[in-house]
Point group: C2
Chain length 724, copies 2
């Protein structure tokens, strides 16, 4: 059975990719609507393609440098003396990871930007068919993420262990195992690297366009949202796709791959102690769970039907929770299949509990986000109310709400960590509570494996979460297109309610993405400490001055990164404002809406693109280079650095996502007629809050997820350079 | 010589107290001005006294509970078996610490609120005499802080080792030393506890009054700042004293005592290994440095003279840097005196370098604050410029500036930590660079002692820093009184320039307070890990799940604390707004300024007081109780918790102080005629930024300093309950 499973998971990966292909084919043969709708959609497509192309070509130089560093410098030491250049294989796996991640961006954007006008067209025949179309469009991205991810990891694994079997990778190094996990980790780093640029660049792009469009169009010129006269409107619509399709897709793809990489990297070492001769099970179980996760995501995508159409939000929730429940059931049987009656693991059910702990924490942290950002709960209502006393009180209340929301999320996260650890420890020792004296190595090993399984459990529903998230910009764009092509009000009503359902689920997806980034990075952190030879006998010791210095530096980095991202949005948005003003002034008849006069949309897309590319390089480069630089100085400092960045990055991600979401929905709450509605000073204050929140929730916040993962995984891959 | 030094330092403490008394006597016999000025000052005095009284009586119940917990539960184990109830002595020391800290608040507030009208009166005769008066008023607080602090620590030390010598304290416990350091630490905790309430309560009080006075008075009713018709104006002036005299005084008093406590607690252990039979030197050297610091602060206070009066800001800088230079020189001789030709310490000059590293870092971190918050530098100018495009861009630029400022401060802090450690290690081993293999216990011991000395070095200038800071509200109040009592413009001009000099130095003092809180807490953290038996062989291990959980929880706490503080200001300010509106409506003739009609100032003071007392209890209690609760669960988790709170609290303190300061000065920059000046939309945007920044820089931010210290010192004092 040992060698069968990687083939099975690779097949499941192909299944996911195939299903994504089927959905893509289905979406593309739907009616794209009239010429006007297609024309608008085509502008969005061209803008998106142009952005992606330039983003990738800017990033590639940097990525090739990283690959070259790997190729030439990473070597593994052999117990017999001498070393082997495993970096060569890692560099290849890395570039393959980059290619996979990049492809997902291209595929997802290609389909999303074509599903938008088709959704508008479908909305003419009713809510149900429009919902189905938008969700299937999103599912293309969702299933690509998990399909390509699983396929890629399995392929790399099989290449290294079965087909190619390069000698230099399979020799046992001083770390007591072969280098297969390292090569798989390099594949994960490829995913991370492109995700980092996608998140940072995409985040800057989307908000520069959004802020620019709003400030001049809505505020200064007084024209409505999504009005075709606004030159930045296409850039704004492109930006939605860039953020939620390419950005979130790359982000969760990265968490997904990372969550598989971590237990693969840990599995061999851990199971070597736990259950000799069964090491492969430790590495394959996570792959298998990821595999059934793909199947469950496909099944869940069938749950969004045209019939259950009255509440699009409810349909999306059914898909999300449906896939979680299906995965839970499947995980139970997988754990039983792999670990039942196995020597060394008296209570395999413990590992199942670890998986469930992760899965539930992901969902519950999403619920915390919902609580702090939905107007069904008091936080947003109070925030709206605080706008009555002015802008300052609105800003303060929003910041306070975001800060406060970290407590609930952190409590859930640590509860999941504790549960996963204790259940894993129980699985191998049979004891729930143990004094520190009796803390056996076996118990710790089981506990850590439990934490890694919690990560994979949480990520097993990735396919559905990404699908729901990528559904968002399709519905949003469909609304934009129906507005710009002057569809009848009933069509707009449908696209509006699709859009609003997407906003709620997007908030939950954000919470999920943060939680998954946290546990994934934690699992990778542990894999890193093992890889550099920090076992529990030595430890990452906070009484060392080097570790403390690292912790301080790491904790400060998310603050620096956020400030760079926020400033980048400000600068790029300023350029956009100038351009929109220029067009209104210089293009005669544009503002009056004269027939045949068109704004120069492409120039606005270009400005956003340039801004994004220019400002993404600094923060992204620091994230990649700083762990290597610190690691070369001192490995304790690097461990502290990673821990600091992980913890603070996680907090900042939650703070900014929830503060931004709360401001956004407080504004919408007022706009829907509460507290005086639109046009009041209360509304004006809420609009400022929303504008402040935009780069929080869509630029700086989401970058934190990738940042903490990319820093940890780069430390893991370059670990041989730092071994003490 | 061993027994002489505590007497010498106690004498120096008394000298500081005596000098404070002389200045107080001098200030109080100056001309308090005409009846109107005295009347206004009396209102402020009464308000301040009423607030302090109620704050202390609210806090005392909680403090007695903590003392009782100490009294009954803290026991030290003996190697021979059995244990001794050292908690009884600790409880007494604790209450003595509370009394000392409380006295400083009373003395400082008493003099400050009487120096204000006298400064206004002195301004009639010229800048020089007004500057001298205000600074001497501030020096009362500054010298009380260091005088009482040093006297208290010396007294407790002498009581335990020379006069009373209780058996139970002097027996050698399982920790390998007697409990004298623990009793001294309990004295420090007393300082911390009252400082915590002073900072939180004071911070809420001052901003509720400020925001309330501004929103209704300046914005709604359109009357100028410090107009006697505004009912909240007295509360606002009381608030300045509460924040900068009682709050900052208690804060730095606490850092000061903490920085002495940490090396006393560490000294015995460290020197036992380094230089047997010379342990007392390890404990007494820090006391001696603190002692000469008092003398240098007194000398520096003579540097502010009436003659050099053209630039009040320059005079204050001369005092600050003068005291730093004097202390450096004195420290050099002290190190030589104590450690020259001593067995085990081949290079005593290394410890002098450690002291200088701390002293310079404190000054330089103040300079970073200056760079980010003064309109002489580009950050504030750009922030003012960003107000031109609206409120949202102002808010975002301010947040980004604050976040970015953490990087410079952190780099300086870690540079100081590294320098202090390496210099300390060199002092005992003679080696600068050592591979990890050669990291001897002796080297580590020397390095850690170096870090503790850096803390005391930084804090040795406390007397002057507090004096400069407490000068601020006196000058500010003097301006208010001259406004309210309708003094001629030339008097107001003098008080205005005194006030503006105070604002700049207050920003530097804030940076200094944060830096000192960071290193003090770090030194206390190390004392804690020693006290619970986490030596470098065991370590605070970040690969343990318990430590990670603690780290996450600790890192989240500053976010929770800040959100509670910000919300508290919002709620209390809302009540104030309602009251001011009510008085304008219900008191006939008030708004018109009719002769003989007076606002009900006391009611506004009362509202601020109630708000402060009501909302300070929750965050303060969590800060005190949570370390005990987590420690009782797991000592690794507690260590992680303290580390997380320390690092994130430090970052948040810098972020909020500098963002708030930048907003404040961007507004003032515009008000002084730049970018269109007052009354423009640009100014309006900057005013919103300033209002958002107020609770950042004056409530939540400063609370972080105390929070991180109180959590660490409570863990240190209650350590016997957690020993593993």
């Amino acid at each position: 059975m040992e060698s069968a499973w990687p083939y099975i998971t690779m097949t499941l990966g192909i299944l996911g990719m195939g299903m994504a292909g089927i959905y893509a084919w289905w979406v593309l043969r739907q009616d794209p609507g009239d010429e006007k709708m297609q024309d608008i959609s085509r502008h969005i497509q061209e803008g998106a393609a142009a952005f992606l192309k330039r983003e990738y070509s800017t990033a590639i130089g940097f990525l090739v440098l990283v690959a070259a560093a790997m190729f030439f410098f990473i070597k593994a030491d052999l117990p017999s003396g001498g070393s082997i250049p495993i970096g060569r294989y890692e560099a290849l796996a890395y570039l393959f990871g980059v290619f996979c991640s990049g492809s997902i961006g291209v595929i997802g954007m290609y389909v999303s930007t074509r599903a938008n006008c088709r959704t508008t067209q479908a909305a003419k025949t009713g809510m149900g068919s429009a919902l189905r179309l938008a969700f299937r469009g999103g599912s293309v991205t969702g299933l690509s993420v998990v399909g390509i991810g699983l396929f890629g990891v399995s392929l790399v694994y099989l290449l290294m262990t079965e087909w190619w079997k390069p000698d230099t990778v399979l020799q046992v190094t001083t770390l007591g195992r072969n280098s297969v996990p390292d090569v798989v980790a390099a594949f994960g780093l490829g995913a991370s690297s492109i995700a980092l640029f996608a998140r940072v660049g995409g985040g800057i792009f989307t908000k520069a366009a959004d802020v620019g469009a709003d400030l001049v169009g809505k505020v200064e010129a007084g024209i409505p949202e999504d009005d075709p006269r606004n030159p930045a409107v296409i850039a704004d619509n492109v930006g939605d796709n860039v953020g939620d399709v390419a950005g979130m897709g790359a982000d969760l793809y990265e968490s997904y791959v990372g969550s598989i990489v971590a237990p693969v990297a840990l599995g061999a070492i851990l199971f070597a102690g736990l259950a000799p001769n069964n090491e492969w099970k430790g590495m394959i179980l996570p792959l298998a769970i990821a595999g059934v996760g793909v199947v469950c995501s496909i099944l869940a995508s069938f749950l969004v039907r045209s019939k259950a159409s009255a509440h699009p939000g409810r349909s999306l929730s059914i898909a999300t929770y449906g896939s979680a429940i299906l995965t839970t059931i499947a995980a139970f049987f997988l754990v039983a299949l792999f670990l039942k009656d196995m020597q060394g693991i008296p209570h395999p059910i413990g590992f199942f509990i670890s998986i469930v702990a992760g899965l539930s924490a992901g969902m519950l942290i999403g619920q915390v986000s919902e609580f702090y950002t939905s107007d069904r709960f008091p936080i947003v209502k109070n925030l709206a109310k605080s706008s009555e006393t002015g802008t300052a009180t609105n800003i303060l209340a929003g910041i306070a709400a975001g800060m406060q929301s970290t407590t609930g999320s952190i409590l859930l996260l640590v509860a999941a960590i504790a549960a996963a650890f204790l259940a894993g420890r129980w699985a191998v020792t049979g004891a729930w509570v143990m004094g520190t004296g009796e803390l056996s190595t076996t118990g710790i090993t089981g506990g850590i494996y439990g934490i890694a399984l919690a990560a994979i459990g949480m990520l097993s529903t990735t396919g559905t979460v990404v699908a729901v998230d990528a559904y968002g910009p399709i519905a949003d764009n469909a609304g934009g297109i129906s507005e710009m092509s002057h569809q009848p009000p009933e069509v707009r009503q449908i696209t509006d309610s699709l859009d609003s359902a997407g906003n709620t689920t997007a908030a939950i997806a954000k919470g999920f993405a943060i939680a998954s980034a946290g546990v994934t990075a934690l699992a990778l952190f542990r894999a890193f400490t093992d890889a550099v030879g920090i076992d529990s006998a030595v430890g990452v010791d906070l009484t060392k001055y080097t570790t403390v210095i690292g912790l301080f530096l790491g904790a400060a980095f998310p603050f620096l990164f956020s400030s760079l991202a926020i400033n980048a949005v400000g600068k790029a948005a300023n350029k956009m404002v100038e351009e929109v003003r220029r067009q209104f002034k210089e293009i005669p008849g544009l503002l009056e809406g004269k027939e045949g006069v068109k704004a120069e949309y492409a120039r606005c897309v270009d400005i956003s693109t340039k801004g994004a590319l220019r400002y993404m390089v600094t923060p992204a480069s620091i994230a990649v280079i700083s762990p290597i630089a610190i690691g070369l100085w001192n490995v304790d400092a690097l461990a502290g650095y990673l821990a600091g960045a992980l913890v603070v990055g996680f907090l900042m991600a939650i703070f900014m996502a929830n503060a931004g979401g709360a401001w956004d929905n407080a504004k919408k709450f007022i706009e829907s007629g509460n507290l005086g509605g639109k046009g009041t000073p209360t509304h004006a204050a809420a609009v400022v809050g929303d504008t402040v929140g935009d780069p929080f929730k869509d630029t700086a916040g989401p970058c934190m997820n990738i940042m903490i993962k990319v820093m940890t995984v780069i430390a893991l891959v370059f670990a041989p350079l730092f071994i003490r």
